[in-house]
Amino acid sequence: MSQTQTHDIANSTAAFGMAAAITIVFNTVFAWVKDSYEPLNAAMKAAMGHHWITHGVVDVALFIALGLILSNSAKAKSMTGTALVKLLVIAVVIASGGLAGWFFLV
């Protein structure tokens, strides 16, 4: 007999969890683009003195902004803990593998 999964986490946990997963994947894509497009790297260096500082600040700002935006979304009000765990694990595996693979090959 199948059981219906119910919303068993706080809305803020679901919203900021989804924001974390998105930001983690964005971080890897941002690193790829920055590494292959020098004008972006130069602009990030010009913005805050070093590309890595800008990269970190953009990541944290994106995480906070997405978390606040998603807090009122329907998904945040229905997501289960199990689904969020899967999302976070998949995001971390793809993002970390993407970074290691990129810097191994490039």
């Binding site: 068993d8 986490i9 706080a10 803020s12 946990t13 900021f16 969890g17 924001a19 974390a20 930001t23 983690i24 971080n27 890897t28 690193a31 003195g49 070093h50 890595w52 500082i53 990269h55 970190g56 990541d59 944290v60 995480f63 978390g67 289960t80 803990g81 199990t82 969020l84 765990v85 976070l88 694990v89 971390v92 993002a95 970390s96 970074l99 290691a100 810097f103 191994f104």
Partner: protein, 157 residues
């Protein structure tokens, strides 16, 4: 001062890993009596990773260029090309997870298994990423060491 910052950076990283293990252990044995300790441990993970970011970041942008040049001239250029390049971007993953952890711990951990699983999975991911980053840091240091040893061998010959 450079060496003190360089030592403090991985020290706070290890403290964050240890606090993540603490989060795992407390959450596995959750009750009304220890839920406040779980939240404290989650907050400490966040603070320690934040300090690791600030200290490591300051050292990286201020002092690393010299070490990078040494590594690239030595026999282990991959210590920078692969390990440092990956580490400096991989670090943002546990950073974001650490900032998320205290938010996840605000859920009803005592009665919700799903909420506990989110906290434990996040702590476990921080531990795994943290250990990988600590290993990468050790390899980068070794890249400097083998480069300097190589230089002194060449000078002695």
């Amino acid at each position: 001062m450079s060496n003190i910052i360089l030592m403090a950076h991985p020290t706070f990283g290890v403290l964050a890993i240890l606090c993540s293990v603490w989060v795992l252990a407390e959450t596995l044995n959750i009750s009304a009596g220890n839920v406040s300790r779980v939240r404290l441990a989650c907050l400490l993970v966040s603070i320690f990773i934040g300090l690791t970011w600030i200290l490591g970041g300051y050292w990286y942008v201020t002092y690393y260029a010299v070490e990078k040049a040494i590594i690239l001239k030595g026999p282990w250029p991959f210590a920078h090309d692969f390990f440092m390049e990956t580490k400096e971007h991989l670090f943002f993953i546990p950073l974001i997870l650490a900032f998320f952890l205290p938010i996840a711990a605000k859920s009803d951990l005592v009665s919700s298994k799903g909420a506990r699983n989110v906290v434990m999975a996040t702590a476990a991911l921080i531990i795994l990423c943290g250990l990988a980053i600590e290993g990468a840091g050790a390899t980068i240091n070794l890249g400097v060491k083998v480069a300097l040893i190589d230089t002194s061998h060449k000078q002695a010959e």
